[in-house]
């Protein structure tokens, strides 16, 4: 295709991508480099139905004047990125100097909000992704071998977890694992322990979130693999059979290599999705035991009366960076395969 034609072909896509993807990211990045103006504080007296107290208030006029002079706020460089709420360079250095063992060092690091969230986010990503890949393939192969009559209904039922909205799905499960819910009460009965609670223990909460994550995203990998299975060439399979390959050997040596590009695609999507885990934490009210990077952004924007835009911006940028780092090995592999195939 001549370069000129290619340019006109790609122009609409490129324009929308710049407008709706690149520019917002740039704007978030610029925001993350700035912090709020200095607030001019006045000492004042406030009275309410219960009495009067001395208090402080914001001098809105003076603050507004500062705001007008510099609409973006004060330039802070990468200050927000390295403060305690994020990479916490100073705290990390301090912890390094003050601790003797790696264990003590890590326990101090995991007390910092960003690293605490990163720990859960990475664990979730690296446990859920392989499970979903393997189970998805297994279900796809299983369903592919079903008789035609039950295939359709089985596919439909297998897709259900994906159809349910993540927040709703997690809320339903949250109520089921409650001490009065069907799962929670059954577990209490099995272990004969009335105080057993899936919500009170950090380990059980992590397991619950991970199981929910696998359950929720499984249909995606299953349906993509199932579609891929329809393209496996019959001839190759048949010749493998003639060579005496067992069912298992056919899966490992014929089907999986054939599906490899799809496996890479699904891995990419899963890594991205799982790294941004958010809804289950809100749905399960699991903030006490598990926090993710996306949840920190949510907290910065919502929990306090003053939304911390630069904190949220900084965490967003680092989430994007994290996704990029996770995807690099997979992308490099794809690029190598591509080069090998087209000399």
């Amino acid at each position: 295709m001549p370069n000129r034609t290619f340019f006109w072909f790609i122009l609409p896509t490129l324009t929308t991508m710049i407008l709706f993807i690149a520019l917002p990211i740039v704007s978030v990045f610029i925001q993350s480099l700035h912090i709020e103006h200095e607030q001019v504080i006045l000492v004042s007296e406030s009275c309410d139905p219960f009495g009067c107290t001395e208090t402080t208030s914001v001098d809105t006029e003076a603050t507004e004047k500062l705001r007008r002079e510099q609409p973006l706020g004060r330039f802070n460089g990468l200050g927000t990125y390295i403060n305690r709420s994020h990479l916490a360079f100073e705290e990390v250095r301090e912890a390094w100097g003050a601790t003797d063992t790696m264990g003590a060092f890590f326990s101090r690091i995991l007390n910092l909000p960003f690293y605490k969230a990163l720990a859960f986010t990475l664990t979730y990503t690296f446990v859920v992704t392989p499970f979903v890949l393997v189970l998805g393939l297994a279900i796809a192969v299983g369903i592919n071998n079903l008789p035609k009559l039950v295939k359709g209904p089985t596919i439909f039922v297998s897709l259900l977890p994906m159809i349910v909205t993540p927040l709703v799905g997690s809320l339903i499960l949250f109520w089921m694992v409650d001490g009065d819910g069907i799962i929670g009460a059954t577990l209490q009965r099995i272990y004969d322990d009335n105080a057993l609670s899936l919500k009170a223990s950090p380990a059980l909460t992590w397991i619950m979130l991970i199981v929910y994550g696998v359950w929720h995203i499984l249909p995606f990998s299953f349906i993509v693999f199932y579609a891929g299975l329809q393209t496996v060439p019959r001839e190759t399979l048949e010749s493998a059979m003639i060579d005496g390959a067992t069912k298992w050997q056919r899966i490992i040596h014929v089907i999986v290599p054939h599906l490899m590009p799809i496996v890479i695609f699904v891995t990419l999507i899963l890594l991205m999705d799982n790294f941004r885990v958010f809804e289950p934490i809100v749905g399960f009210s699991a903030e006490a035991h598990a926090q993710s990077l996306s949840w920190i952004i949510f907290k910065d924007l919502r929990e306090s009366a003053n939304p911390l835009y630069s904190s949220a911006g900084a965490t967003s940028m680092m989430t994007i960076l994290g996704v990029a780092i996770l995807l690099t090995p997979v992308l490099i592999r794809t690029w190598r395969d591509f080069r090998r195939r087209s000399p």
């Binding site: 504080i41 309410d48 219960f50 208090t55 402080t56 914001v58 006490a288 009366a305």
Partner: protein, 413 residues
């Protein structure tokens, strides 16, 4: 909800009808109200609508539990989306930080002859809001269970609450007799606030945004919280008002620290058994460590008027809303809230809040940066409550988290 509004508005109109006459201020104006969503607020805004919608060109009410999240954005443009927001202590600060509400002194003079002086929320001499109801967390007790466990009388200090909880556990009646709103985030931060204030603690150094929580009072407050958590439902870190109310109504708790505004709902004949409702006693928030201040923060709900609207609209909105603050409205909705308006007859559902207020509990501080402190407390105390770190470390974490946020928000350098 709209059906409910219709019923309320209908009832009010039927009651007052042509008999009542209200001064609705300039006519033909647009009145647009943003408010949270609970019965007392419906009563005030609904009565205002019944009284003054006729004189106004437009009267709209948006009742949403998300009011706090949208109010600043909604009032920032000129003209603002709403002419009035119904706020509480913390949300008034949130609006005032951005200068989005106007002083009401002139309107109060013109339309507020029937208002009580204690309803005025004044900051530096300017009336910024007119309060109509009070709320606070306080003690709920099941008198029958206390009696069965051999506890005499209703506990009045946290030490007595803990002793009573231990007796109930020892008697084998309940393993976890206590319910508290300890959900991670705002709720658990609020529990700390209550107990810390009862120890006589201060959040900030006077006149500045520098934190002042790293002291023995905070450590003492945390140790009380840890002791309470021992007797609280195992899932307490996921429980807020709806969950604690549910446990109470299901008869699974004997002692509770819950909001006064839940009192009416718990005592009514819906959602619970006769055994629970007839034995539930509401009393003032307990004191702690030999102090005399009830461990609670007092809250009010009141009306404000937006800065960025026309003067005639502002005046009409104020006139309409205060026209609802009458003894007749209170008589109609007596048990919906602890009213600060003339004519209120405190019933059993109001006993807890009334006792807490007269006991001298502190108001929730109206300080511009209290939201950041509350947020830091809500996030950083959890590790301590889980037993993963010590009290000193938890307080140090809160301080560090607050300082980081306050620097970003421009309150500290």
């Amino acid at each position: 909800m709209s059906l409910r509004n219709l019923v309320i508005a209908g009832a009010v109109t039927g009651l007052m009808g042509s008999a009542a006459w209200a001064d609705c201020g300039p006519s033909g104006q647009s009145i647009r109200i943003l408010a949270s969503d609970f019965p007392a607020i419906h009563a005030v805004a609904g009565t205002a609508e019944a009284m003054c919608a006729g004189a106004a060109a437009e009267f709209t009410r948006n009742h949403t539990t998300e009011a706090r999240e949208i109010m600043n954005a909604a009032l920032t443009p000129n003209p603002a989306e709403y002419t009035s927001v119904i706020v509480a202590n913390s949300t008034l600060t949130q609006l005032m930080n951005d200068g989005l509400v106007r002083p009401l002194n002139d309107y109060v003079e013109k339309y507020g002859a029937h208002l009580e002086p204690h309803q005025m929320i004044t900051i530096d001499g300017n009336v910024m809001a007119v309060a109509f109801m009070a709320n606070s967390q306080h003690l709920f007790s099941r008198s029958d269970i206390l009696e069965k466990a051999g506890v005499s009388g209703i506990p009045s200090t946290y030490e007595e609450v803990l002793a009573a909880a231990e007796k109930i556990r020892a008697a084998g009646i309940m393993e976890h007799p206590l319910v508290m709103n300890m959900k991670v985030g705002w709720n658990v931060g609020e529990v700390f606030n209550m107990i810390y204030l009862a120890h006589g603690g201060e959040f900030f150094q006077p006149g500045s945004a520098a934190p002042a929580i790293n002291n023995e009072k905070a450590i003492a407050a945390l140790s009380i919280m840890r002791s309470l958590a021992e007797y609280a439902h195992p899932d307490h870190l996921t429980q807020a008002s709806n969950e604690t109310q549910g446990l109470w109504e299901a008869g699974q708790a004997a002692l509770g620290i819950m909001w006064g505004s839940r009192g009416g709902v718990i005592l009514d004949d819906e959602g619970s058994s006769e055994e629970v409702t007839s034995n539930t006693v509401l009393s003032g928030a307990p004191t702690v460590a030999g102090g005399s201040i009830p461990a609670a923060t007092l809250w009010w709900d009141g009306i404000t008027i937006a800065t960025n609207v026309g003067d005639a609209e502002a005046e009409a909105t104020f006139a309409a809303l205060v026209s609802a603050m009458t003894p007749e409205m209170v008589a109609e909705h007596n048990d919906d809230a602890v009213w600060l308006i003339d004519g209120f007859k405190p019933g059993p559902a109001a006993a807890g809040v009334a006792a807490t207020a007269t006991g001298g509990a502190m108001s929730y501080p109206m300080i511009p940066y209290i939201g950041l402190m509350h947020n830091a407390l809500g996030a950083e105390l959890v590790d301590f409550l889980k037993g993963a770190e010590g009290a000193e470390q938890a307080i140090a974490d809160v301080e560090a988290a607050y300082v980081t946020a306050a620097k970003e928000a421009g309150f500290l350098n």
